[in-house]
Symmetry: C2
Amino acid sequence: MVVTPWEFSGDIDYDKLIQRFGTQPLTEEILDRIGDHSGGLHLQLRRGVVFSHRDMDRILDWHDAGLPFVLYTGRGPSGPTHLGHMVSWVFTKHLQDVFGSKLFFQITEDERFLMRSEFDEGIVRHWAFENALDLMALGLDPENTELIANIRHVPKLYETALKVAKRVTGSTVRAIFGHGDDANIGTMFFPAMQAAPCFLASARSGERVPCLIPAGIDQDPFWRLTRDVAGKLRYPKPAQLHCRMLSGLGGGAKMSSSRPETAIYTTDPPEEAEKKIMDAYTGEAGGVRSGKGRKPAACSVYNYFFFLFEESDDRLRELAESCGSGARRCHECKAVLSERVEGFLLEHQAQREMMRGTVADMLG
Amino acid sequence: MVVTPWEFSGDIDYDKLIQRFGTQPLTEEILDRIGDHSGGLHLQLRRGVVFSHRDMDRILDWHDAGLPFVLYTGRGPSGPTHLGHMVSWVFTKHLQDVFGSKLFFQITEDERFLMRSEFDEGIVRHWAFENALDLMALGLDPENTELIANIRHVPKLYETALKVAKRVTGSTVRAIFGHGDDANIGTMFFPAMQAAPCFLASARSGERVPCLIPAGIDQDPFWRLTRDVAGKLRYPKPAQLHCRMLSGLGGGAKMSSSRPETAIYTTDPPEEAEKKIMDAYTGEAGGVRSGKGRKPAACSVYNYFFFLFEESDDRLRELAESCGSGARRCHECKAVLSERVEGFLLEHQAQREMMRGTVADMLG
């Protein structure tokens, strides 16, 4: 398995990722403590979609002492938002609702421009706006959310990024991210820009304000680097909650825009989403005519229910059992999922349109 | 001899630097062409203080076709301004007066912060203001001069710097600047920030606006890199005029703040400057009691006349001859120089105070 900020492939073993990255599994104790605040656990916590953390216990201690922490996550604006991107955003909104935390949402215009030879500034600027619409359409609180689009909002970050950059050598960045000698100098500097929002609340207030980052585990190299630097700057180390990746409708480790026919975009017309779902790969579940041996966990359609579209654990279990027994056929699951996705898309696309003015104001 | 942006030492042979850096000596033809515009050559051109160039002929062609070019130079704000810094600024003002060009003056707060472990942002910000006072006190036109302090004015540069950074690899920067593996990632990125003002007029106007950089030759590695990138971005390659370095009063290759007793700062009280001059190293000139063998060119006091404080070539020649013949003693030269420096400092310090409001407005 290959897990980096730019590649996520192979047979993903999330337990091994916890070992490889040196993170902690989410314990029952931490889940209980979160549940005490939220009154019942979010489905991503109940089902282990959020499976790993660093310092979540400290964040809860801090919060229970009546002190504020901030949330931080983000997006590389290289194309339309698909449902895979939304998994951690949905969870981030939940955290904002439960803890009342301010969210910094970084839109890495600079990184996408630097990494993609065919991209100009206009393209990343375009996708920055479109992606921000998708975030805010989920119902994040505009009063408690700060969009940081790295190029247009660079004054918010540069001074703090310099403090980070001063304490990170080129050889460290090459070792952590696997950059070769041909990596451009913007890419070498960029980890300092991604680190900066972790410290922004502290830098602005002059007090220690911890930061919790809900994000895919593929971003973890950035946080390892940032945590190393935090101590040198006397800022709190950023804490993390790591999400699993939602697979594409063609199977595989992660939904990817490189295979648009297997990704559902938030702007897809419902009938196009339906067609993608009807063509979805259902793995061993679909390959077996007899009632034996189906594995729902390997089915991309099932995973959509699991990550996003079936709130009830009971109904999810029934679905898995009836699939496994052969009582339920793939086309039935696909039809139900299509209906749910259609409902989501219609609602989301309407919200998206309503947020245009708000997002334009937030991006400035 | 060692000549880099961070070290300038050894026995400097400026002809060899022309070969090493691949620049062009200033020809009589180019000097004549400049003189046609200025009505007589500036002393730095007459005496070879400005000794080398790249594409100055093209800049003159461009200007003669009625098209505008911009000037660009700068300062690393790590301490008070001394007279060695002023050499290229005096010449830059002359160019602005003659050609009416807009000047971009970059104050590299970021680079000084990144390179000096003991510096915080407050220190570079302080020296940025102080150094800018010295520039503007020389009479640069505030309406035609744009100060770019890299941290507070980062939005002016970041987008253009990213375009440069995208086209420069880490290994190129290591090769050009001699950075080791332990160079921090901010330092690796910084050449893109120093390059950006070369392209700013073009980026803002959407037209090709050439840029001429009058500066010490120690900055040349930045311009070699920038010229390579210019073609890829379809911007004009920046042209250069290279100045020699004024030695300190203790001799050596370059006036340096690491030996403050041998540098005259613009804020020195005249009596302190006088004391430094009276203690100055006069080289072989001072070591010889007889009338034979004195070499004014090796005398730091003579060099002050040569670079800055004796406008008349005739009087300079008389001074050299009477020194060489032994007719003139060191204390006489020192007394005359003290008087001139005192006059300069009193006038400059008064101008400096008058520019406080203007500079505060320019820095924003």
